[in-house]
């Protein structure tokens, strides 16, 4: 019996290798040897198109979400002007902030300063049948209140943008850790065989200037084929996806065909399985060169759809345009889509800049939900909207500083219960109240669960540990958010 287990794995690999040798089955991205060494034989095998099928062969749970769209509000929006209504804070506005709450706590730029309370400068309303409280800066999101679940009790560990981005994306501040999109792709593979399975876009034309890093969509220690591919707002959407000047589609096809022919000839004599993989990569590259222009051509989107997102010039790189692109990517089977809007770091001028940032994102975020819903895709698409941490209930001049003890975000679709608000903060919004606190790793565990994955079982051995997105500390699925 011992023998059976061992033999079958090796045998399966070796026969797969032989198939590959005859070019009948070429996976893409990982070399054959690598695939085997990673124990990924199954994921590589049995796919005519060569698309990656993921290491999770049998979902651990029912699959509620087939894909994830993460609307990443970089710089960290204020919860007090969006999703966490604090009347008591407003009453205390301008008064000293209770030292009992802040004593001994890590602050960022407010360190060593006098702390004053700062109430919300906007009003909140109850929206929809559920009566969720959302600020007036987000009327369109208010309009989808019954579809979204608001979490008011998020907390994180990192008080500066750079490590907090890393923590939100990869569950760790150590560099070289895979981002959640990479984990998803590694676990579930992609349904698209002519587009990358993990796509990232960053808005142009925003106010504000929160820098981001490509490590936020890096595959870290996972194979680089799982890294997010950033679609550019200028030039070719995908780097090097446009043919050189004077090279027509036919020319390019001929070049690729000759390369593949020569590689096949090499393979006959050299028997290196990497060559077979390579032949299929050139095929995939050719498909991407045609599919990307088709994807980015919005001509067939009806006017009313463009209007619903608030798109003035399709493909202009605005957040609105990127939201529509996200839907198009989702339709084409892309597994994980991340849109960055770098406009939220309001240390000062909150009353001027927060409404601007809200206006840039509110309508399109809501339109995306409605659009997905109308196409019957919201049921199996998980949308997450939020920043990397929150803002202080204390004033920093006319803005708010970084805050890690409490912040808000929302989720929709993909098995999320709409119209609920989960968790709460103390009456001044400084800290989350016990019981319903949600750690970043809990958010990750919940996301994976909706995608059918037990977060404890999606692992990769690295530096001696079976690494997980949720890290070494205990993580909990937030059941209350699930349908």
């Amino acid at each position: 019996m011992a023998k059976q287990t061992g033999e079958n794995n090796v045998g399966a690999y070796l026969s797969a290798l032989q198939r590959r040798t005859f070019l009948r089955n070429a996976g893409y991205g990982l070399g054959a040897t690598a695939a085997y060494s990673l124990g990924l034989g199954r994921a590589m095998a049995g796919s005519a198109s060569g698309a990656w099928k993921g290491v999770v062969s049998q979902p651990h749970f029912p699959v509620r979400a087939k894909r994830v769209i993460h609307l990443c509000m970089a710089g960290a929006p204020s919860q007090f002007e969006s999703f966490d209504w604090k009347p008591a804070l407003k009453k205390l506005h301008g008064q000293p902030f209770p030292a009992s709450l802040t004593k001994g706590q890590q602050l960022a730029q407010l360190q060593n300063t006098t702390l004053r309370a700062m109430g919300s400068f906007v009003n909140f309303k109850r929206w929809g049948q559920s009566g969720q409280e959302i600020s007036e800066l987000f009327p369109h999101i208010g309009g989808i209140a019954d579809d979204i679940a608001i979490v008011r009790s998020m907390y994180t560990e990192q008080i500066n943008h750079d490590p907090a981005h890393a923590f939100m994306n990869a569950g760790s501040i150590l560099k070289g850790r895979p981002s959640m999109g990479s984990w998803m792709l590694y676990g579930l593979g992609s349904e698209a065989d002519d587009l990358p399975g993990f796509v990232v876009m960053v808005s142009l034309g925003r106010q504000g200037d929160q820098p981001i890093s490509s490590r936020q969509w890096s595959s870290g220690f996972l194979p680089s084929r799982f890294q997010g591919i950033q679609f550019q707002s200028k030039g070719d959407a995908v780097h090097f996806a446009g043919s050189p000047a004077g090279v027509t589609e036919d020319d390019q096809a001929r070049v690729i065909e000759t390369v593949r022919n020569l590689d096949r000839l090499s393979h006959q004599t050299r028997l290196d399985p990497e060559i077979a993989t390579r032949v299929s990569q050139y095929e995939m590259a050719a498909r991407m060169q045609t599919s990307v222009p088709e994807l980015t051509n919005f001509a067939n989107e009806p006017k009313h759809v463009l209007q619903s997102y608030g798109i003035t010039r399709p493909g202009d790189g605005s957040f609105a345009s990127n939201c529509l692109m996200a839907r198009r990517l989702a339709e084409r089977g892309v597994r994980f889509i991340q849109l960055y809007h770098r406009a939220w770091d309001h240390h000062s001028n909150l009353t001027r800049d927060m409404p601007t940032a809200a206006k840039q994102t509110d309508q399109a975020s809501a339109a995306l939900i409605n659009d997905l819903k109308q196409r019957g895709m919201l049921d199996d698409t998980l949308v997450i909207w939020g920043g990397e941490f929150g803002r202080t209930p204390m004033a920093q001049g006319d803005g708010r500083d970084h805050h890690i003890k409490a912040f808000s975000l929302w989720l929709a679709g993909g098995g999320i219960k709409g119209g609920v608000t989960h968790g709460e903060t103390d009456e001044l919004g400084y800290d989350t109240l016990p019981d319903k606190r949600v750690a970043v790793r809990d958010l990750h565990a919940t996301m994976l669960k909706l995608c059918g994955i037990d977060h404890k079982r999606l692992t990769f051995p690295y530096q001696g540990l079976d690494q997980k997105l949720t890290g070494v500390e205990e993580a909990h699925v937030v059941q209350a958010l699930l349908k």
Binding site: A2, K3, T5, G6, V10, G11, G29, G31, T33, A34, S37, L38, Q106, Q109, T113, N160, H161, P163, G176, D209, P211, S213, S214, S218, P223, S224, R225, K234, G235, D236, V238, H239, F240, S243, G246, D251, Q252, V255, I256, T258, L262, L265, S266, T269, R270, L271, E274, T277, R278, Q281, A285, M288, Y340, R457, F460, P461, Y462, Q463, G464, L465
Partner: protein, 1071 residues
């Protein structure tokens, strides 16, 4: 039941292959699923079972602890029953034999009496081990192994990597010990090595492995024809002497020490660090002993009277990521920097995952938290700051006024060989351009010269200092007020200005006529400001100077090519000091009561017309009183020319311009010199504007390198900070004990002298310990990495973890032999490299043999060489070399080759603009490309180069469509193809077949087969026909150069062929 392995392999019988598995495979597959080591993954299952199969290992072969048992216990048990005392469950520890025997967890010889045996076989979920919820279930064959091991007496072995190094006996008499060890193992597996690779393959392999560049066809032919007995060795010696050897060897070292041009956190600003890279290249080229190399990097600054090179090496300690993000706490980041350095020592020298012990004792290795922080304490004397800025929330007097544009102190200026050479080249270029400028100006404007000279001399009579004082009317912006006296006085204003607000005063001058080449600003002390030239409480001037000409309804914005002041503080842009004051002029404190001057020179001199209005804006939040003047004269170009007005750099010099102007133009009879002045002055405006622009660019390039020195971040020692053990790694928790520098407690320690009389050990002691004879890890880790470089996989495939969760070496005796040889050779790297490449094992053919693919698919037994795709930098170098484009210069500032537009758009503080190289620097080697940690160049990233945020011992080796798109469409590779096409079309060969043969040989090192040649010829014909029918496409595809006698269509078609050549497997693979 144990399984009896078959002793014979039937290669083509998949079922037979299945059956060869012995019962260790499964265990080892699990273990072998190691980390990011992609391509070579790991399958050392095959390695282990193949020999035990083929050599017919006896069925009662006793399980060996290190080989068979430790991997199981480590992965499944040590997490709770290992070295970490804090997390140890039930007080039971299985990593130490005495502890395991004490409570009868293991009873040697008696599985049934052993608690371990009972627990792993328990059926009750509460009793069974490992607990089901950890998802670490033992496999049946693992259970069997454990039983057999206990039955045989449960003997332990010390971990292989920590055992002292002794030189193992070489198994047979052989010329090469390496071959002896490898062949011994192959013989036991009943496998024969492969024949030697053919000469062409061998030379290409050696060239790529030792220099990162392919051989030329001439070298290949010569080597093929060389029948002398030492032909191979002579090639190896030649390559080891090549200056490109150091460049090739530097790449993995730069990965493992995380060398990059930017700081990595948040704004990811530039850091001045390239001279360290050049030090590494030179160290390999001069074959610096590895112990000395270690000493200089870790502690070069502590050596007695360190040389400049040793101080350069000490930049190693500054290669960690650092931040200047607003809101970051210095204490937190100092803790991060320390941890980063400990990880670096762990990865680069010890091959150990010490980083795990930052928060807790290591789960699998005997490294505890005390080890981690004691190692960190070695680095507590490095002068540095947690946050490299002076923020109000954490004021930092050391960094007063330091902002996002400033460099990362401490820095020193160091001489750089590249820059010295570069300065010579640029100066010559500048001289040539200047000559050309004068020639063209005279050709176009000779008739105007005499009038110009007369007018200018008249002007000088009226204005002996060369300057015309200007009498403007003024308008002040925003909250400022100003009035005109003899000078312009900006009134003291008590209204508070925003920190970022730079208000200005605009001066308008009318009734001017004639040439305008230079403008001048003098700051004048004034009684309005109590004898200061600054307003209010300001101590330094900061000036943004701009000017325009209003001509009717249109405006001519005046651009400047240079500016110089007699008093100036350095101004930085993203870490680099600006060569002059053109963009911004700052004065240092202490000059407010002096008259100070600055001169701006127009990029294109102008001819003012009587109706023009000249408007000059002086933007400044501090200036209190000033005058303005203009001059029809400008500085000439470069140092070699007579510098009548400028300083030695050819910059306009406010101190010289006045008197020198007058004297020179008034008195000289040197016509040539006067012509030069003419060419730069307003009267000759527009005679050769492009040349003038080019000259200005060249001058700025030259200015940036003129003295051959560059700034560099270095280690500067100071009084050590207190280092505490941080409980759970929490930097705010000061309850942990204080530690002093110490090395890993379970290894041979520092010599007694290091701690005698209460002496605190230093980084010197650490460096010497790293390369001491007693340290078992450094030589093993280095040789394991070196092995990977030449054979594709380390002897232990897990390069960065020689610990319990790593992989026991496939050939442990060989690794130890190499490690001892390395030490005893005097840490001689070239000696070791030569040993590796001289071996038959290295020189074998790499073609996969079907029977080997069956038993050893990952080639761990090395019955053949491995074929490997080139690493990112060498993919680039190889293509450029083949195309004849490669610029083989060495060292110097990192370069900026083509990169997709907007790629840095998401970097801020400051915003980044990528300025592509405009000259031959475009085609430098990949090693010299600018390494931006947050956004690594897409070509490098696509071919698996690491971002170097963390130390990387092993690059993954992926195979993706992005790579295909890069080779097909990246402008670098497109230009390389066009250039190769030109090269082929210019070659003296008889026909297209010969041309294809040459191209293929250039690209792959050998002539094409008949089928290969046929495919390329067919491609050529198809593209030729296409381009003949599509002239417009052909013009674009052909590129900028048409070889003599070739049509556009032909050139375009050959470019297409060459794109194919640069894309094929054999070109990008070292075979």
């Amino acid at each position: 039941m144990t399984t009896r392995p078959r002793s014979k392999v039937t290669p083509n019988d998949a079922a037979g292959i299945c059956r060869v598995a012995c019962n260790r495979i499964q265990t080892n597959i699990a273990l072998a699923m190691c980390r990011q080591t992609l391509a070579l993954g790991l399958l050392w299952a095959a390695v282990l079972f193949a020999p035990c199969v083929a050599m017919g290992a006896p069925p009662d072969d006793v399980p060996r602890f290190n080989r068979d048992i430790r991997p199981i216990l480590s992965d499944k048990c040590f997490f709770c029953h290992g070295p970490d005392s804090a997390k140890r469950k039930a007080g039971l520890r299985l990593d130490v034999r005495d502890a395991a025997l004490k409570d009868e967890a293991i009873v040697p010889g008696k599985p049934e009496a052993s608690e371990l045996w009972k627990r792993i076989n328990a059926t009750d979920v509460d009793d069974v081990m490992p607990p089901p919820d950890v998802h670490k279930a033992l496999k049946p064959e693992e259970i069997t192994l454990l039983r057999r091991w206990i039955e045989a007496g449960a003997e332990y072995e010390p971990h292989w990597a920590y055992v002292p190094l002794t030189r193992p006996r070489v198994p047979a008499k052989a010329k090469s010990a390496i071959d002896a060890f490898i062949q011994d193992r192959l013989a036991k597996a009943k496998l024969a090595p492969s024949p030697a690779a053919d000469r062409r393959t061998l030379l290409r392999r050696l060239s790529l492995d030792l220099t990162g560049l392919p051989p030329t066809p001439e070298q290949l032919r010569a080597f093929e024809a060389d029948k002398t007995p030492n032909a191979v060795e002579r090639q190896i010696d030649r390559l080891l002497r090549s200056p490109h050897y150091g460049e090739r060897m530097a790449v993995p070292w730069l990965d493992v020490v995380r060398f990059a041009d930017t700081v990595g956190y948040h704004g990811d600003q530039n850091q001045n660090v390239f001279p360290y890279r050049d030090y590494v290249v030179n160290a390999f080229n001069t074959n610096k002993r590895f112990d000395q190399f270690t000493l200089e990097q870790v502690a070069g600054d502590l050596l007695p009277r360190p040389t400049e090179k040793q101080r350069v090496a000490s930049a190693f300690n500054r290669l960690n990521m650092v931040t200047r993000e607003g809101g970051a706490q210095p204490g937190e980041y100092l803790a991060k920097y320390m941890a980063d350095r400990v990880r670096a020592i762990g990865t680069a020298w010890l091959g150990s995952t010490i980083g795990c012990a930052q928060c807790h004792d290591h789960k699998y290795d005997p490294i505890n938290a005390q080890d981690f922080y004691s190692m960190g304490a070695f680095f507590s004397d490095i002068r540095e700051w947690g946050v490299y800025a002076d923020y109000p929330y954490t004021p930092n007097p050391d960094l007063k006024g330091v902002g996002n544009e400033d460099p990362f102190a401490p820095e020193i200026m160091v001489r750089n060989a590249f820059l010295v050479e570069r300065a010579k080249v640029l100066q010559q270029r500048l001289a040539d351009t200047q000559k050309q400028l004068v020639r063209q100006t005279m050709e176009a404007k000779r008739s105007a010269f005499n009038a110009w000279l007369a007018n200018t001399r008249t002007f000088i009579k009226q204005h002996p200092d060369g300057w015309l004082p200007l009498s403007p009317t003024v308008a002040a912006e925003g909250k400022l007020e100003a009035r005109v006296e003899n000078q312009i006085v900006v009134l003291h204003n008590t209204k508070k200005l925003d920190a970022w607000d730079v208000p200005g005063v605009s001066a308008t001058i009318t009734n001017l006529q004639g040439p305008l080449a230079s403008l001048r600003l003098d700051l004048i002390p004034h009684s309005e400001h109590n004898g200061s030239h600054l307003r209010s409480d300001r101590t330094q001037a900061r000036v943004y100077f701009s000017a325009k000409i209003v001509r009717g309804d249109s405006e001519i914005k005046l651009a400047f090519d240079a500016a110089q002041a007699n008093v100036a503080a350095p101004v930085f842009r993203n870490g680099h000091q600006l060569p002059d004051n053109k963009e911004e002029w700052r004065t240092p404190p202490g000059y407010a009561r002096d008259r100070v001057s600055a001169v701006w020179q127009l990029a294109q001199p102008q001819e003012l017309q009587p109706t023009d209005k000249l408007v000059i804006r002086v933007g400044s939040e501090s200036v209190g009183a000033f005058t303005l003047s203009m001059s029809p004269l400008a500085s000439t170009g470069a140092r070699h020319a007579p510098p009548p007005f400028g300083n030695d750099d050819g910059l306009p010099d406010p101190n010289r311009l006045p008197s020198a102007t007058a004297r020179f133009v008034a008195n000289t009879t040197n016509t040539q010199a006067l012509q030069e002045v003419f060419a730069f002055s307003g009267a000759a405006a527009a005679a050769a504007p492009e040349l003038l622009t080019q000259l200005h660019q060249q001058r700025r390039q030259w200015l940036s390198v003129k003295d051959g020195k560059a700034p560099l971040v270095v280690t500067v020692p100071q009084k050590p900070r207190v280092t505490r053990i941080l409980p759970r790694g929490n930097w705010q928790d000061e309850s942990g004990p204080i530690v002093t520098p110490a090395v890993l407690h379970f290894l041979p320690g520092l010599p007694p002298t290091a701690t005698a009389h209460g002496r605190r050990p230093t980084r010197l002691d650490l460096a010497r310990w790293l390369t001491s004879r007693e340290n078992p890890l450094t030589a093993r880790a280095f040789m394991n990495r070196l092995w990977k470089q030449f054979f594709g996989t380390g002897l232990s495939a897990v390069l960065d973890d020689l610990g319990g969760q790593g992989e026991p070496p496939s050939h442990p005796e060989l690794l130890d032999w190499l490690a001892v040889e390395f030490i005893e050779s005097g840490w001689d790297v070239k000696h070791m490299v030569k040993l590796l490449v001289m071996s038959n094992t290295y020189q074998q053919d790499s073609t996969a043999r079907p029977e080997l693919m069956a038993v050893d698919p990952l080639n761990r037994l090395l019955a053949r060489q491995s074929q490997r795709r080139l690493d990112a930098e060498f993919v680039r170098d190889n293509a450029l070399f083949i195309a004849g484009l490669l610029n083989e210069q060495r060292g110097g500032p990192s370069v900026f080759p083509y990169q997709p537009e907007g790629y840095y758009d998401n970097i801020e503080f400051p915003q980044r603009k990528y300025i592509t190289e405009t000259d031959e620097q475009q085609f430098r080697r990949g090693l010299y490309m600018h390494w931006q940690r947050t956004f690594l160049h897409p070509m490098l990233a696509n071919f698996d180069a690491p971002s170097r945020e963390e130390c990387t011992a092993d690059r993954p080796l992926s195979n993706t469509p992005q790579q295909a798109l890069t080779l097909l469409n990246d402008p670098t590779f497109v230009q390389a193809a066009q250039s190769l096409a030109v090269r082929l079309l210019r070659a003296h060969v008889s026909d297209d077949s010969q041309r294809i043969k040459l191209g293929f040989e250039l690209a792959t090192g050998h002539p094409p087969s008949g089928d290969q040649a046929q495919a390329l010829l067919a491609h050529l014909r198809a593209q030729q026909a296409h381009y003949e029918a599509h002239a417009q496409d052909a013009a674009k595809a052909a590129g900028p150069v048409l070889p003599l006698g070739a049509t556009t269509a032909t050139t375009a078609a050959w470019s297409s062929v060459c794109r194919v050549l640069l894309n094929v497997y054999e070109t990008v693979t070292r075979i």
